[in-house]
Symmetry: C2
DNA sequence: CTGATCTACAACCATTTGGTTGTAGGATAT
DNA sequence: ATATCCTACAACCAAATGGTTGTAGATCAG
């Protein structure tokens, strides 16, 4: 049963978001704790604006959410987004296993 | 135990490769059967050269291998590459669950 | 041998990406 | 009230991406 049909564009954004070392690192951070955008920015050797853009990419991909708290913007990991990406790879894995099973079957026939 | 340490560049290439609808479709195809480059090209509304480039991207990401057979180049899915991507997402998932467990622990303390 | 097929690769083009600096506006602290 | 901090966003730039066409080398069929 396919609960949640993912559009191509959504998957493009998801995997594109993972395709950058800084963004993967941000994902690791926000999975564990809370960070403001500037808190994240202080961790990397690049401008605040650059980190802000990375967070925006993650946000568009639904991998992260932002919530305003005072003058800060708190970045939190979004479990759903991560699961969607995982689900797709699991699907490929399943196709692969089916094929392996089919091959074994054919070999067993002779 | 981490058996296989993945470099950042390798992961960049892996996820970048998945970040395109045509390439994900190619992955689905070659996971099931064998295709020549031109066989794949005939499936999409774009030039042969464009498909050739997509295959090259998948190949550089170790998601696919090519093998020369006569005048054709046979494209096959590479299970290892797929598993590497899955492993990373699983890792994030694990971090997430650890954090959820930790939160539950804290709540249980009071 | 000739022609058709499959592939590789270069050159080109428009758009996106990942970075920068600069400007401006809200929230906070003193 | 003023200075500082955090954020948003625009403008710009170089490099990468996703596409094209064209050329050329192998391989196969007749």
């Amino acid at each position: 049963m396919v609960v949640d049909q993912l559009s191509d564009a959504e998957l493009d954004r998801l995997f594109q978001a993972f395709a950058d070392t800084t963004r993967r690192d941000i994902m690791r951070r926000v999975a564990v704790g809370e960070y403001s955008v500037s808190g994240l920015a202080s961790l990397y050797a690049m401008s605040f604006a650059a980190v802000q853009k990375h967070v925006a990419v993650l946000e568009r991909a639904s991998l992260v959410t932002k919530e305003k708290r005072g003058r800060e913007q708190i970045v939190r990991g979004n479990h759903e987004g991560l699961q969607k990406a995982r689900r797709l790879l699991d699907e490929y894995e399943a196709i692969w296993r089916q094929r392996a099973a089919r091959i074994a079957e054919i070999l067993a026939e002779e």
